[in-house]
């Protein structure tokens, strides 16, 4: 193939490629704004649920709860994952002790975000 033909062939490929590349929709970053229980909370009565509130809609992909010195406490999850700015999970009856809730989500921009909330239920 001649140089000129090679250049034309390259440019012919460049134009649809650039359109394909630039036609991406806008997006935003996501952050956890508050949680219930709050991180570090000391509770007199066990919480009936965990609630995570974000600054915008995210897809909560994981919420795992651990009691210190014990096995993970299984939290049921509905099948599909939807975008929500407030995610809530019902908790089983929690015994007194220290707990760690680990959450993960897909931010609106595509980043994986996550964090840990520690709380204690007093006897």
């Amino acid at each position: 193939m001649s140089n000129a033909l090679r250049l034309r062939a390259g440019l012919a490929g460049l134009i649809p490629g650039l359109i394909l590349g630039l036609a991406q929709p806008a997006s935003a970053h996501s952050e956890l704004r508050r949680s219930s229980p709050t991180n570090g909370a000391v509770l007199a009565t066990p919480p009936s649920s965990i609630e995570l509130a974000f600054n915008e809609k995210v897809q909560l992909t994981a919420l795992r709860l651990y009691r210190e010195g014990a096995a993970e406490i299984a939290l049921p999850r509905s099948g599909a994952i939807f975008e929500r700015d407030v995610a809530q999970r019902t908790l089983p009856q929690l015994a007194p002790g220290a707990y760690t809730a680990e959450w993960r989500a897909i931010s609106a921009d595509g980043h994986a975000i996550g964090g840990v909330i520690r709380f204690r239920v007093e006897p």
């Binding site: 650039l18 394909l20 600054n55 994981a62 795992r64 993960r104 897909i106 609106a108 595509g110």
Partner: protein
Amino acid sequence: MIVEFLQPDASVLDGVTVLLRAGYYAATLGAAGLGMFGIGFGHRLAPAELVRLKRWVVTAALLGLALSLAALALRVLVLTAGASMIDGPVWTAVLRSRIGDAFWLRAGGLVLLTAFATSWRVGPAIAVVGIVGIVASYAAMGHSMLFRPRQELAALVLVHLTIVAFWIGSLPPLMMIARRVAPGPAAALIGDWSRLALWGVLALIGSGALLIWHLAPQLDLVTGSWWGYGLLAKIALVSLLLGLAAWHKLGLTPALARGEAGAGERLARSIGWEMLLVLLIFWAAAEMVSVHPIDIGHRIQS
């Protein structure tokens, strides 16, 4: 990886993600760059060299695909907080998110790029679409999509990474050419590449500076964040790379042109060091992606 382990509640999975990310940056952008070199300079290679270059393009594309897929699987594991790599609903969520958009764009680009290795008349054109897809996938998610001005940032990322890909993808074939028995044509080809690369370096620095100016418009945003520390490490490594490239252009390539004994081997070895620096730069870039620039009101809110 280092930055991740300096964060509170550091995660091993997130640390491994950084390494895998650096790997697929190198493989996918390297594949794109090998394709660019082949389209621009392939006609000046010996038939056996062109065959080898085509094999490299296909190998790098396949490696890029494998690493991108592995990164996606690791992302699912991260998003399940380490519970499972085969969680169906999380895979669905990932593939419908910007992570999935970027993956499909990159994977499609890598597949199209392999058209360069065929004898089709339209092979180079298809490969160029693939190259644009690969580079554009890096603007489909990430910090360039988080901050204003979004379109300008996306365009700058495209320009910046196109030059990065061209540079790094050129290194293996340049190393091969430097080891040729006949130094004359090799020096001429490397000289022509260097002249083109000089403009590329200027555009690389210009687009990089504009990206920093948009993402961290105040100096204290660079010196006061993990993202900024990653950026400073990257700039230091790029400075070393530029110094090495200048040594190649002003010292080793003229020696090759003069036919000095061992000049080709010295240049090839030095290009090898350049490739190692490139890997470190990708690692620094992968570290930067795991943290964010400080928001001073220029972050886009939905």
